[in-house]
Amino acid sequence: MEVIRLEHVEKIYSDNGVPVHALRGIDLRITQGEFTVIAGPSGSGKTTLLNIMGALDKASKGKVFLEKEEIGEKSRDEISAFRLEKLGFVFQAYNLIPVLTAMENIEFTMMLLGIEEKQRRDRAREVMRELDIEELADKRPNEMSGGQQQRVAVARAIVNNPSIILADEPTANLDSETGANLLDLMEKMNRDHKLTFIFSSHDRQVIDRARRLVILKDGLIERDGNGNAAQ
């Protein structure tokens, strides 16, 4: 089943008045359950592409469909709701809410969906158990290591059962062992729950695990095909 489709997507930034052509016409289709890595050198447009897929950014030209609905026609509120229900994000800098504990961070998106507290707690515990981070429940982000924070961020991303997880350089700030553990976890999520994972990364470790590998260069898809981990 198709979850994301991009048609002739272009993105032009203005960098201090100088137009920068970040994406020059991307056509891409992602189906449910993929474990896709978008790779490419710095400045190739990986993050921009990921942001557009996550409806964090708007395409300058072309169309973006999320679950077959064109997002260019949606209001900010509809996009927020969509992100809330369908998308999960994992950022390079973890980006947990500093004033909330791990538990509360995970609960937060459920709260936004209006889920009642008891249910929230149970679900958050369940996810934490699955990711083996139960002992972090009452810790605030500044009391956790980078790997721990990133695990909490993954927990936050998957807790609402989204169909797609977008991860922008999730391992960039982690040592290789921690990074590997995180990727194991993500693979497990992908296997067990048929979650779609889309990474943007130039980390070898991540690219090696790709089942589908999309390589960008200068805002265009240079290669799209099976990754090293494809069966």
């Binding site: 950014d57 709701a81 809330l84 950022f91 004033v99 937060f108 936050r156």
Partner: protein, 404 residues
Amino acid sequence: MLLTIAWRNIWRNRRRSVIVLVSIVVGIAAVMFNDGLSIGMIRQMLENSIGSHVSHIQIHAQGFNDNRVIQNVVPKPAEVESALRNTAGVQHWSPRVLSFGLLSSALNSSGGVIVGVDPEREKDVTTIRRSIVEGNYLTGAAHEVVIGNRLADKLNVGIGDKVVGMASALSGDVGSDLFRVAGIFETVSSEFDKAYMFTSIDNARSMLELEDRILEYAVIVRDINRVEAVAAELRQKLGDDYEVLTYIDLLPILVSQVDMYKSMMYVVYLIIAIAMIFGIVNTMLMSVFERIQEIGVLMAIGMSVRRIFAMVLIEAGTLGIIGTATGLALGTGLLLLFSSIGIDFSIFSEGLTSFGVGAVIYPRLTLDTVLNVLIIIPLTTVLGAVYPAVRAMRLQPVTAIRYV
């Protein structure tokens, strides 16, 4: 959970929040104190006028208040007295005769109000007896008079000295009598102390040829909040031959001054609120701009802009509520403390006694003040957060996340 976030965010920059809070607290406490002091002053003026001579309700022949002539006597005193006795809300009452006349001593003379009272009844109605500073209150004996200290000074008389009272009598002739000063009173109103002289009602009646007639009944009610109801009951019992006036009718200026003051106070609240808004806008803006990245993440994980907006407002509102609660507690404490001990403004005593306030002002805590603070200040802080919240709302998630 938004509340939890708001609460914790406030304490992320403890120092900054404390400074904003202190400014709110100081503002509230100062405004409340100022408010309490002014209300205390006006109420004292009103209560002193009521206490020294006006009383809660006055009953006269119809038209007497506009035309205070001696011929305008109460038609049937017995009827009034029976109505007063049979009205439950009435606590004390006192019959009076009064006339605006001339008082003379051997050295000087002064215009003034000569009031004939039943000494026993009057002492429950007005504060004259308690205000005696020299000599004694009326015993009911003939030719006794108690006068205000300022009048005594002007006439240059002391206890035991003679004064001559002259006023127009019922027949139109000038009635006069010789009195001896039995007592001198001093109230907090210099205007009153300058002009009033009390003698026994029988004495005044014979001087004014009034025989057993009465010009005025002064009434004290049991519950001042029910004064209008008691007056209405009396009005209904007495009919159109009488006028039944409450202190509100008798002291229109003082009463409307309370209203005027209230509207003036809103201006003060407005000014203070605007001053606070600047602080709130700046603080909340700083707090939003410090957290641009965080807000971007909140948006990325699906928090709607409306909720972002609400979050900033809640933060400011929480600050406002904490500040209001503390300020209210401090202001209330100060007012309660000073409402019992009073504040001595002796340096302004001439001015204050000429207004009938007295040199010591007892600030009052009124429900109005508390309600004003309770509504206006939290609202102000929330209002001050609107612009920062709009700025937060307008952030684009991508740029916000990238922002460093």
